[in-house]
Assembly symmetry: D2
Homo-oligomer: 341 residues x 4
């Protein structure tokens, strides 16, 4: 069956896998102290234009979100997120489990606008009862968002300005960052993100790795004891090489961007097909995820030939579904999809 | 200055105070094992028609909410509350601090309708991703609500039916329970609450005590180790007598209801005054809290002569304020207020 | 029956109770913003010689320990305590519930020596694996200790020096502080404690109040958002007056010290009686708690006429028990005890 | 340089790696729903003789310990561990971070004896104050222990009997389980462990995998919502195949046991070398870790040619070090080591 259900249904990119195989027999030190992890850090710092960056490699997205947010927030601090944010919806209450509330603000296409953020923060401090409430202590955004949309550089700058005005750190969840950076419609580079965020991560799991997210504190601003915090949250891999080697490969010869661009090329082709067939977009994005409204009977028929992601009900008779491309999507799969649709 | 700002600006009801004074020199055992605590439990069980009830006395409302919810919920469980619920807004993230999400549902006059609850629960289990989400593990309602409104018995029964259908416990925050029970427009008795809820508390702090809330598990259904859980949450008073004596007094000769009725009589008088003077109600309730919309300049003027509660902005030019009566409101205060308004 | 079981079996000191009664009808603001709370703070700052002190009133000891420790510690920080420390043994895991380990060090008569502390800290940082361990983030001592013993000023200074060398805050649990300050064998004043500790509390529950502990951050060094943290931990009393009035009374005309001195006088008398009758001391202290080794059959006989505290088994045939005096101990009780022993 | 520092300095066993490579291009479902994860579960159930077992794959040891313990324990429950237990010492306070105390008991060669456990539990319930203490809610043992020692079957049965008597679940940390099962001096099989424990895990990270631990609830007794709990603790891998494929390989044709046996053969050879050269054993074990006491100057010299694990100071002049073999140890390494020693 054709598969456009998500961007993590394949193993590793061949080049990433090749490096795992090549280094497999080497004796390496543990817990992220090995040479490949170090090399990956050097390359990521360079790619980010952030020579002072503290970098940590964790295994997955929810783990990274909870460890970073728990590490950054003070005791009564809350994470401000879009109501559609992954931490607000689909992480099993992991943030709350670390003791922190997720304060949601209305989204626009999955994004937080500077206006919405400012309104939230202003409203909070204007409230006579705000000392009886968890204070907004960190802003969480995702880029691409859960809807595949992207912040423009000006939007990020506006958020940054609000964060500065209220002295709140900005955290960018880049679980699919590659697909944002490689988009044809973005003006945001990795250096921009490093310059504008207090912490962010470069997603590996969904962009060519078997697992792994690279957390970047661009100005050497990791919380004190962050290594121990990672361990405390169960997020320290004994064989740190597993992430180190993979990210070293991903950041060699621009592999991360190159394979992301492939996914974007496929997504553009996919959009053309969907448009050509008259499908109705719920969210037509500049990244690797496209959201389409299907009539329910049609959805049931398609299901038999192609796997896609069920997203949410649209109305009684229709459903929003997601088609995702990835670094592993093949031309013939798109051609076959074109036949089916 | 006149004071209608809240129902906890005075000390204890004279009768409650008298009993504290009378018993002061007695040597009593500690941590709630004393004879007055035991006597209070016996009287509360009788008042609730719940001879098997487990009863615990805690010091305050937020403490009670966090201890009960933490004690009742499983690891990934979330508390379902109205978006206006106290635990969702004004408890400093205390529930999240215990590791649990507060899932909010839309409110109607501060209440959760059975329909809204059912929609929330049905929607949850219909969501393909629900195993990636904290599950609804307890329903939190307040009676009176944060807006002074009351559930009708039929409404509670409908909520109970939904809770039964989904096997979720129902927790009623009765911080102001007396003012609900004594309302002229309620058909809900203490026995009804004991019959319909899995756990609830009878508020003392706002109804005549210096501090104290009586948590009732009506069918002897306290979570295992609940005494230790109370201690673990810092909620166990060494001199348990402090709550025991007060609740023993409040449940002797119907004092709790009698003093609540006084507050209701005052509230009815207050409503008549407000209505007579043409004030615009934001929420005209059957309990001791009345919410009025004031023009901002008018609010500033009134502020100089009478204390009331600032609630929330209504629009640019108006504000919602709260006038609260209590067991301690005096006739002459109402008369003076009538002069001022 | 005679009662020497503990120092919290009576209500409030008459003077404290009198002030609760006198102020009962006053309308006061809430959550600790009232005039009596403010007045109590002024008096405590003066008594401590700490004009900049931040002061908060909480209801009980375990609550205070968990709120202060949780508020002071960073994410991976552990509280260092004597293995006999209250937080290590008898607080239902409340510290762990806030996410922090209690690291125990060997005790000497219930105390931590500077040597033991230094050895613990030096050992920690000397351990190659220390980044895989929770770091010592706060030192917890009690004064008087759980065994009624006291730190000499030189001992506190030595602890302070170690804390300074390792940049760790020092927290003193003063649940029974009055009985330490009033001891005939102490050279430690309240000002000394304020000068040497980063945070401490002045116990009320066991020294004349119905409830209440005054937390003092002597150099205005309360953690950011501490008011909200108190609320988040369920420790904020709506009627802050309850603690405010009591501490205002306790710190008027030296009441706190005077009533503590009474307990000490009684304890000295008690010791003389025990010594005179040939009882064997397990711990003969300079404060209000005396620990005696009883033969088990003797213990069973005494039990029938006098209440004392069972402490721990001594050997197969003997048990350590505690006799405690307090502000409320009466001459005739001591005389009666002398008859019985 | 020769390397005997630990058993996780190499990548994956070639056969495990081969299967990762072979399956890499397959499109597989996510979050552990894939066919290889399912196949691994079937094989592990068979190997355990536990057809009803619930099985979950997590990435690492600390993560597994904290997720399982948090999932199994009630609110005030503590994990009972040897004072040398990994969770008590080297997991950065991860268990406490989940809100639970680690109660330590004295160890014998890294093990908990049934007597020590029984004494701990009996002592707890005999203590009048036990409701003020976290209750023992789970027993944690490791097999092999942190010192490489093994429980005899009779010892496990005796622990089980105590657990049954007190109705406490028994959790076995099998981070190095293979090296225990393959020992020449064990009478404990995987089926025995499945029969005697309530939950245990089969370690992959240290026995041939890049990462991964297989948690087994042998009687289908996983806590409710355990999948969500895993997610909540950040321990759910999006590409569940990463663990699934590896464990499927490890449990095909007895690979897990075969490679473990190789490590044991190497360890026996290592012991012979050490013995032959007159080294003094601190702990001579039947598994893959051997602990030797080195004079400090000798240690410094050896350090230059061979990597080993620094364990703990023995006395002023000596240090305990660890030599570990693994599935990846080669004959020529042992020969070279024999030359050096």
């Amino acid at each position: 069956m054709l598969n456009f259900s998500s961007d993590y249904t394949n193993g590793a990119h061949p080049e990433v896998l090749r490096r795992l195989v090549e280094t497999n027999d080497e004796v390496l030190t543990t817990y992220g102290s090995d040479v490949y992890t170090e090399s990956a850090k050097v390359k990521i710092r360079a790619a980010c234009g952030a020579p002072e960056a503290d970098i940590y490699f964790l295994a997955g997205g929810t783990q990274t979100n909870l460890t970073v947010i728990s590490g950054m927030l003070g005791l009564c601090g809350a994470a401000v997120a879009a109501e559609t944010g992954h931490i607000a919806l689909h992480e099993a209450g992991a943030i709350e489990y670390t003791g922190h509330k997720v304060l949601t603000v209305p989204h626009r296409d999955g994004k937080i606008t500077a206006e919405a953020l400012e309104a939230c923060l202003r409203g909070f401090y204007a409230d006579d009862n705000h000392t009886h409430m968890p204070y907004p202590g960190l802003v969480y955004i995702s880029h691409p968002t859960e809807y595949g949309t992207l912040y423009a550089k000006a939007e990020l700058e506006a958020l940054r300005a609000v964060c500065d005005a209220y002295d709140i750190p900005l955290f960018l969840d880049g679980a699919r960052l590659g697909y944002g950076l490689a988009s044809r419609q973005t003006d945001v580079s990795l250096s921009d993100i490093a310059a504008l965020c207090d912490v962010f991560y470069i997603g590996g799991t969904k962009v060519g790795a078997l697992c792994g997210e690279a957390v970047v504190f661009p100005r050497g601003n990791a919380p004190r004891h962050f290594f121990t915090i990672v361990k405390q949250h169960g997020a320290l891999l004994a064989k740190g090489r597993l992430c180190g080697v993979q990210f070293d490969a991903l950041f060699t010869d621009d592999l991360y961007l190159r394979i992301s661009r492939h996914a974007i090329d496929c997504a553009e082709r996919l959009k053309a097909i969907l448009r050509g067939k008259g499908y109705r977009f719920f969210m037509e994005t500049a990244t690797n995820q496209q959201f389409v409204v299907l009539e329910n009977a049609q959805m049931a028929r398609l299901c038999e030939q192609v796997a896609f992601g069920y997203w949410e009900p649209f109305d009684e008779a229709h459903t929003v579904v997601r088609f995702a491309t990835s670094w592993s999507t093949r031309e013939e799969e798109l051609a076959a999809l074109a036949e089916i649709l």
